[in-house]
């Protein structure tokens, strides 16, 4: 190896790939090192049963910004949609489904007051997500502003809130710190409708809807769809194709991506990151090392603690990183039938969340490391809209399950089996006969996700998306703006501002920081 690389990126999650693509476009020489056999991290596929491809973790695309799609020419590199603007359908054991389609709520049991209330709620929340959008796209400003660029960013945030006008600015300042349960009570009465809305705030979160911060996570999720024009979308061929497209784009710009290359540790010389050592013993040097891994992996596994201060290690240890989202994968011999659900809606986003108190009852046990009796579920049947996935009338079912505790007990395997049984029983209540259609069933608990994807706690956002680790404090006060206490070592994953979901924003912003020389 002659001239050292400009950058090594540890982990080919979609953010790492995005970072690589942007750096390569700018002429940097980049090597991405991935431990698994394929790229994508939480945005990749798995093979089930007879070779079908199924999204392993993230299964719906909603927050990928149009400008990243354009910059990296992702559509040219294979990003296609099997469906766009999916509706949300709240299932009901008695068949009283509620359908949400942007501003419109439909359901026989909904009063006209609730229909109006939902409309008002939707519009108000759109207004507030728009106000948040600028700050969610940029590198977070420092709390103690150091340069003019950050001053502008902070002023920009202030301005986008001021622009709301007196009445809405007051509202924004009032509701931003609220919990979604109480906020929705100001608009809507029907509990099933509220629960359908709340799903957007709760998936990937460790909190219930009554916790402060659920309005923030709700607005965060809504802001995602403001960045593109495809709404809630289903990528053709599974989420893996999105990461493959980013990887292709990166490779085309000259980046090198190596799979099956787990990194053992980061080489640090005089408080500067200078390269990495692979598990094989191979040493690779670069000007900059960027980690797509979460902070605990990065600092507690890949770096010798001698290089880190006690206060910093304490902060990293204290990070809230215990995921509560599980993943269900089913192969079905044919299309299931959900009570009261028209066949035409089978390809939409289906949720099982009967009401707000049910969400609370699903959430409570997780606080004590226990499993829920009635989990809440976000279900999609990707094969209904995407016939490339399955043959012979078979169907795939992919579901996010909340709230599963991070189970490090000795009964992990029995617990998983028991929980899978509970989930299938729950499904049976909403789709009688579905259990007979199941030919393959797999449940990934947060601990499984931790092991399979190398993410501490199996956490969706790497680090909880909550006020104490948001914006100025994300992921911790000593790790803001992608920088770390080690020179030339950056973070580029979901633990950075703004947070997780398949967006690529953290990856792009990390690249931007490198190109600006802020490392």
């Amino acid at each position: 190896m002659n001239s050292p690389l400009n950058a090594i990126i540890i982990g080919a999650g979609h953010n790492g790939l995005t970072c690589a693509a942007y750096l390569a476009r700018a002429g940097q020489s980049v090597l991405v090192l991935e431990a698994a056999t394929e790229v994508g991290g939480l945005a990749r596929n798995r093979i089930v049963a007879n070779g079908e491809q199924l999204s392993s973790a993230a299964h719906l695309l909603h927050s990928l910004p149009q400008n990243i799609i354009k910059d990296l020419q992702l559509e040219k590199h294979g990003l296609h949609y099997a469906a766009q603007h999916l509706k949300t359908v709240s299932l009901n054991k008695d068949g009283a489904t509620i359908v949400l389609n942007k501003q419109l709520a439909m359901g026989d049991q909904l009063s006209s007051a609730d229909l109006l209330g939902y409309d008002r709620f939707y519009l108000d929340m759109q207004r507030f997500s728009k106000a948040l959008l600028p700050v969610l796209g940029k590198v977070a400003p420092e709390i103690a502003i150091e340069d003019w660029r950050q001053k502008l960013d902070l002023l920009g945030l202030g301005w986008s809130i001021r622009k709301l006008g007196t009445f809405y600015m007051r509202e924004f300042l009032r509701i931003i710190g609220m919990n979604l349960y109480d906020l929705m009570d100001e608009y809507i009465e029907n509990t099933q409708l509220k629960a359908a809305i709340a799903m957007d705030a709760l998936l990937g979160s460790e909190w219930g809807a009554r916790s402060m911060g659920s309005v923030l996570t709700y607005l965060y999720r809504q802001a995602g769809e403001l960045r593109n024009n495809t709404g809630l979308a289903l990528p053709s061929g599974g989420m893996g194709t999105v990461s493959q497209a980013i990887a292709k784009s990166a490779r085309q710009s000259g980046a090198d991506i190596r799979c099956n290359s787990p990194v053992k540790h980061i080489i640090i010389d005089n408080n500067k990151a200078v390269g990495v050592v692979l598990e094989t013993g191979e040493k690779i040097y670069a000007d900059t090392v960027i980690s797509n891994a979460d902070p605990k992996q990065t600092f507690l596994k890949l770096i010798n603690p001698d290089h880190l201060g006690t206060n910093f290690v304490r902060q990293v240890n204290n990070l809230r990183a215990k995921g509560k989202a599980g993943k269900l994968h089913l192969v079905l011999s044919q299309k299931p039938s959900f009570t009261g659900l028209d066949d035409s809606l089978l390809g939409e986003r289906l949720v099982i969340a009967p009401g707000m108190d049910d969400i609370e009852l699903a959430f409570n046990p997780s606080k004590y490391k226990r499993y829920p009796d009635s989990p809440i579920l976000e279900i999609i049947l990707p094969s209904v809209r995407d016939d490339s996935l399955c043959q012979n009338g078979q169907q795939l079912l992919s579901a996010v399950v909340q709230y599963l505790p991070y189970d490090d007990s000795t009964d992990e395997d029995q617990n998983r089996t028991a929980m899978l049984k509970v989930i299938i029983e729950t499904l049976e209540e909403y789709a009688p006969g579905i259990s007979d259609l199941i030919t393959t069933a797999e449940l990934l608990t947060p601990r499984d996700i931790e092991r399979e994807f190398g993410i501490s706690g199996g956490h969706w956002h790497h680090v909880e998306l909550v006020f104490e680790s948001f914006l100025f404090n994300r992921p911790t006060p000593l790790l803001t703006r992608h920088a770390t206490p080690i020179d030339n070592l950056l973070l580029c994953g979901a633990s950075c501002h703004p947070g997780g979901n398949v967006m690529g924003i953290a990856g792009r912003n990390a690249a931007q920081q490198v190109l600006r020389g802020e490392k």
Binding site: A144, E171, R174, F467, E468
Partner: protein, 534 residues
């Protein structure tokens, strides 16, 4: 309508109403206080309803009362005498079934040695924890007596206040700014987990953070309530908690006496049903008896819901009515006062321990505290509630006959709305009995000594004091209902939309607790508008 004799009428003789009344009277206004009950004090009373036993009926400890107010209104001259209590005890049940207790002492070394008995690392960490909480206190304390700015306004006073707050925040330095932001957004459990290991010690500290709230120890946004450990002071002893001699009613009495001595007038049995408003201006008040009094300066000590319900809706902008309707008051606390024939013993607490004079706690773990909250969410009183148990008679002999005692038990959680139906006498007694059974588990001779019990559910608190839904703070203290959001964004500076009608109760900044700050701040704003202010 009677001709106007008074310059200002205060509705409600709760402690904030009395504080506002004192300041206005001392500033030269002729002030009348109207109180619906036959007694003054609101939730700050010591009324005897059983033989010669007097209880602090609702509020029961003194610490947060602003010392500036106590001095300016000369409360000590008018008889207020506060006795700080020594410490407290956290009962601990060991794995082998035996009992111990972790005492809390004022003396730093004694306290350290005590914590060391259970966990050496925690003993050291306690010093860091105390230091960090005091730091946060120092930052926020001056803000209690300042009127919140309106962040949407371009008025000089608001811009200046925003600038002051901004400078204050930036002045603490980068690291402290991050810490402060985290402190106000974290859960008390997470915050304590960054310092301590021992579960019982954490429970002892954390339980108090849920008092009066609709939140649990694991809920984000509860850490900052730890401030109450260090925010108050008694005569200069920072962080001390104590009993006013004669019970909390002594605070109201001293305020009342100070008010009367300055020339003020109080009328009891004079509940106000409506504010008389014409064309956006207050003209007077209408009493429940039907009598009307004219006044063009009225200060309401009632909570925001009752205040706005007493105003003709046609006089209020629709959005204000909406906001006031949504201001949350969910009561979550109960209170039981118990007359005792003699001093009970507690498992794990040595007889004659000085810690008995302080707060006694029986919750064993953080999970137990959180489960208590889960019960409340489900509309039930907590199976294993957080109890704040005190026996004031150990250091204040004036409230009960010699040799006897009374116990104050504050209960978290007890819902205002029960899932099973309305509160009635049967359910109320069942609730009281449940609490007594809980205490008896840790005090074997307790039940035999009970002479009388006085039970308050949130419904009782509401009926007696007028605090909606029995919320002891006149409204929940969450980010969306604090500072410039309290009680309504746009009307968070003690003024209502009606000219001449002000608000001085805990529904206003800085909120509840027996602080007196809302009352003092409201009076200051009234005087500012009259041109008499500073």
């Amino acid at each position: 309508m009677k001709k106007q004799q008074y310059d200002a009428v205060i509705v409600g003789a709760g402690h904030n109403g009395l504080v506002a009344a004192c300041y206005l009277q001392r500033a030269g206004l002729k002030v009348l206080v109207l109180e619906k009950n036959p007694h003054i004090g609101g939730a700050t009373t010591s009324i005897s309803r059983y033989e010669n036993f007097t209880y602090s009926n609702c509020s029961y400890v003194y610490s947060l009362f602003r010392q500036e107010i106590a001095r300016e209104l000369e409360l000590y001259k008018f008889g207020l005498q506060v006795i700080p209590y020594e410490g407290g005890a956290q009962i601990i049940k060991n794995a082998d079934g035996s009992y111990d207790s972790m005492g809390s002492y004022w003396h730093g070394d004694a306290n350290r040695r005590e914590v060391e008995r259970f966990n050496k690392r925690d003993a050291t960490a306690m010093e860091r924890l105390d230091r960090d909480i005091v730091r946060q206190c120092k930052f926020i304390k001056p803000l209690l007596m300042r009127t919140p700015p309106d962040p949407t306004s371009f008025k000089p006073r608001d811009l200046m206040e925003l600038l002051y707050l901004g400078q204050r925040f930036y002045g603490i330095g980068k690291q402290r700014m991050h810490e402060t932001l985290r402190f106000y957004t974290m859960s008390v459990a997470d915050y304590l987990n960054e310092y301590l290991e021992n579960d019982a010690l954490k429970s002892y500290l954390a339980g108090g953070a849920t008092v009066g709230t609709a939140l649990g120890v694991y809920s984000p946004g509860t850490a900052y309530v730890l401030l109450h450990h260090a925010m108050g002071d008694i005569d200069g002893t920072v962080g001390a908690w104590g009993f006013p001699r004669g019970g909390m009613g002594s605070v109201s009495k001293a305020l009342n006496d100070s008010f009367i001595a300055s020339g003020g007038t109080v009328r009891v049995d004079a509940g106000v049903s409506d504010f008389i408003v014409e064309k956006g201006k207050v003209k007077g008040v209408k009493l429940e008896s039907g009598e009307s009094l004219s006044a063009n300066l009225v200060v309401s000590g009632m909570d925001v819901r009752r205040t706005f319900n007493a105003i003709d809706p046609n006089e209020l902008p629709k959005w204000v009515i909406e906001r006031a309707k949504h201001f949350r008051f969910r009561g979550s606390s109960g209170k039981i006062n118990i007359a005792l024939d003699s001093l009970p013993s507690f498992k794990g607490i040595p007889a004659n321990s000085p810690c008995m004079t302080g707060d006694i706690h029986i919750s064993q773990s953080m999970d137990e505290l959180e489960l208590a909250y889960d019960d409340w969410k489900a509309g039930k009183w907590s199976q294993k509630p957080y109890l704040d148990i005190l026996i004031p008679s150990l250091i204040d002999p004036t409230m009960v006959p010699e040799g006897k005692h009374w116990m104050s038990v504050f209960v978290q959680y007890c819902p205002y709305k029960l899932a099973e139906g309305e509160w009635n006498e049967t359910r109320k007694q069942a609730f009281g009995q449940h609490i007594i059974d809980r205490i008896a588990r840790y005090s074997p001779d307790f039940k035999d000594k009970i002479l009388h019990r006085e039970i308050r559910t949130p419904k009782d608190i509401e009926n007696e004091t007028g605090m909606s839904e029995g919320n002891i703070f006149q409204g929940e203290l969450t980010m969306d209902q604090l500072i410039f959001n309290r009680p309504i964004p746009g009307y968070a500076q003690y003024r209502s939309p009606i000219a001449g009608l002000y608000m001085c109760g805990s529904s206003n900044h800085p909120g509840g607790g027996v602080m007196g700050a809302p009352g003092a701040n409201a009076a200051r704003e009234v005087l500012l508008d009259l041109g008499k202010g500073k």
